[in-house]
Symmetry: C2
């Protein structure tokens, strides 16, 4: 059973609230290995639903899953100059195997571009072998010094898509398509609005031509980079001799893309939707959508109420009942209903159904939304319809609430640099402002305020009136930029 001390509040200490909530809702736990977490069943259940939804979208767009080795020869990492610079400092290295020191150390993959494009080079001869559209679900390791459950861990789970194309434009279309799929998933499944756009050079993936990103606002007004998609150009194709014969018989290097999202999304879900009572899980990702809590005093009442509860569960979750609803009946005997309500609110189950003898007399049940905590009686005769409708409404309302929250904390009117610093040192925001395109301005803003350029937003996210001057140096702008502190 869950710990029944009060959670820290978001307002008092957002970071303590987050950690405590993740632990108490049993999403994850610390492990004996520094920086590595254990994902517990309630957290892994969310991840499984994320995987299923994304995997379906990847397959609908022609991608196939494969699996590449965990270990990468150290020399592979060195073949792409920017890539090694970006990843070598944070690798875990196997130096001993089967009791012997290895001739060449093996790096535990921090990402798999190098080993995957080495294999693509083996498989691709002609333009007929292109495009290759692959994805793998895997664990990766990055030796981080400061870790946070889900947000930044030494080992994490993710998917990494890797593709090879005959032309730059095809690769660009692919990188953009996958960014769009991520956005759709984050909006429609995680109920988490995102701003999409291109990263500045300093935040680009090590080895990429262009990096695109989905950026979400957490409830402390900081940004979370929730997914990225890279047009890798021919950088890796050149490093790994990934060439093909074109239709006209010439030899050309292929164009690659890679794209990934990770278990970090679970952290994003928590920080987007959680409240001071606990988690709120969007229905489409909830391992349990409806929990039924039986209320009774006597053994006879218990038998009667639980029988009806099991009947409701069977009717809602069985086949032939329309879309099955993931339903759980909480029959624990050593807990009172109030303790059960508390427990399920902490865990964020979207709808609770309370069912007691008086409800049965009236042929009704009381259902309670987790997101708004509204209660309403519902006739048992039409319970499936009512629950299904409410789940859809909750999913939509959660997205709308998160978007409204983000807009309320977005600054689009022109601000002076002093005002900008004040905002960043205060409660934070997504600030849309001009950027001269200079790396120095970008670096100076970071030093002054800890804020960075999250993205150069895509057209639909840009301000109606384009900024004309750089936020910091007041020179003419090159692009509008979204500035914020970030995880």
């Amino acid at each position: 059973m869950a710990d029944d001390r009060k959670l820290p509040t978001r307002a008092d200490d957002f970071s303590a609230w987050y950690n405590e909530l993740v632990l108490r809702a049993e999403l994850a736990d610390y492990s004996p290995v520094r920086g590595c977490m254990v994902i517990r069943p309630p957290g892994y259940g969310i991840w499984e639903r994320m995987q299923r939804a994304l995997d379906d979208m990847f397959k609908e767009t022609g991608h196939q899953n494969a699996y590449f080795p965990l270990f990468i020869p150290e020399s592979f990492l060195r073949k792409e100059a920017q890539h090694v610079e970006g990843f070598a400092p944070e690798t875990a290295v196997v130096t001993i195997g089967g009791g012997k020191v290895l001739d060449e150390p093996l790096v535990v993959r921090p990402t798999s571009e190098t080993i995957i494009y080495a294999m693509f080079a083996k498989w691709v001869q002609s333009y007929r072998d292109l495009p290759i559209l692959m994805n793998q679900w895997a664990n990766v390791v990055r030796w981080e010094m400061r870790t946070r459950l889900f947000l930044r861990t030494l080992e994490f789970l993710w998917q990494e898509g890797h593709t090879a194309h005959a032309t730059h434009d095809e690769a660009e279309t692919e990188a953009r398509q996958m960014l769009g799929i991520y956005r759709k998933f984050m909006e429609e499944w995680v109920a988490m609005p995102v701003v999409t756009g291109q990263k500045s050079d300093s935040e680009r993936f090590a080895g990429a031509l262009r990096t695109y990103s989905c950026e979400a606002m957490m409830q402390d007004n900081k940004a979370l980079q929730a997914g990225t998609s890279h047009n890798l150009g021919q950088n890796f194709a050149k490093a790994f001799d990934l060439t093909f014969q074109t239709e006209s018989g010439e030899t050309a290097h292929a164009w690659n893309t890679s794209w990934g999202v990770s278990t970090r999304l679970i952290g994003g879900l928590v920080m987007t939707h959680g409240d001071d009572v606990g988690l709120r899980v969007p229905p489409r990702l909830a391992p349990i959508e409806l929990v039924i809590v039986p209320i009774y005093k006597t053994d006879a009442e218990r038998a009667r109420v639980i029988e009806v509860a099991q009947g409701v569960r069977a009717a809602l979750s069985g086949p032939g009942s329309g879309v099955p609803i993931r339903t759980h009946v909480d029959v624990r005997e050593h807990l009172k209903p109030g303790a059960k309500y508390y427990d399920w609110e902490l865990r964020g189950v979207p709808i609770r159904m309370e069912l007691g003898p008086r409800d049965l007399d009236r042929e009704q049940a009381v259902i309670v939304r987790r997101d708004t905590r509204e209660k309403q009686p519902v006739p048992l005769a039409t319970i499936g319809e009512a629950v299904r409708g409410l789940l859809t409404r909750i999913q939509g309302d959660m997205f709308a609430a998160a978007r409204e929250r983000r807009e309320a904390h977005s600054v689009r009117e022109p601000v002076t640099y002093d005002r900008f610093r004040e905002i960043m040192e205060g409660e934070g925001a997504f600030v849309y402002a001009g950027w001269c395109g200079g790396a120095e301005c970008e670096a100076q803003v970071k030093t002054d305020t800890k804020a960075t350029i999250r993205v150069l937003p895509d057209p639909e996210f840009r301000s109606p009136e384009a900024p004309t001057r750089c936020l910091r140096c007041d020179q003419p702008v090159k692009s509008e930029a979204l500035w914020a502190r970030a995880y």
Copy 2:
């Protein structure tokens, strides 16, 4: 497109046939890292279907998925004496992280008992917290010297179930239940018959009280250990202080089980069902169940045939068509129908449909079973029914054929030790014979013949007339044993 040289035959060189088939059907490929393979989409597609089927069965029996760290502190492995002896020699060890030498080296998990039971110890206080029924899908690493694609690789994918119970009997029931689930999966999905039973002490999992196994016969008459389930007793609970308060208020150690199957099953599928033409994939595990090859000479014919083919595909694989059939239309223009047949036979798709203008005139298609290569015309009007029925028949026939093959190569009549050696040095077999229970006899048989005790078979697999004398020493038997050479 697949290589069009002839495969080696099973009779000529079973091992070369296996390797070539795995490579040419694109199930897997060698990687640049010694002993690590790449699982390519056609192989991974089979694994995904295996995962889905097993995962459903695990969940139906109350298990939940979780995820534990890849890295295990070296000291953890040492806490259970037999366990460290079994696994320490074959570990990969991370000694450097983030550019620094680690204080305590980290072992890449060869299996996760130690880290998982350390976590269980943290989570379990009272009998109310039991049983814990968990599973994880993960990669593991064992530093093997001689590797074979799928059968024995440095890294492999598997699931490992881990449970904790209040009593020995509950753990025993669980270990037995999971063995039953494995058997059901292997018979009904892989169409691969297995003999179940208990391992002898010498073949027991390092740290277990009892190990149960499913043993399948490959077409070279060698055994493949296809899945194991262990009653771990209290060995790990004692090593990791996994205790709980009983209902009567005492402190007791929990009882654990663990059980796993791996990507090795794909090797088992190949060696059970493949023939000299290529793979034969049982329909329930086939990523593509039906491939449609359009036949045409002119552009007009092509348009007409492909339109009908796409219509058939839509009708068979769409929603509302009963159980959807995984259907693919092979529209490649640079290949003739014959080359396509060859390709799909190599890849083992259960049914091929040939569709040409003359077929359309007769409102029929020709369907060809991959397992028996029988051809039959089928009216297009009832194609769904015909294909569905045939897929079910193929699944059943493949299992029956494999079981018949195994029985034809099982020896149940009493054999002298000389005859036994002759069999093992000849074409091999599953030999059911007596065992005195002595480790010396077991070891001597292995030295003499390379055969080992695969299992002490469960009652239903034992011979009608129980053997009375040990195969080797002629002393009175302790148990009947299944002897065979093994992978």
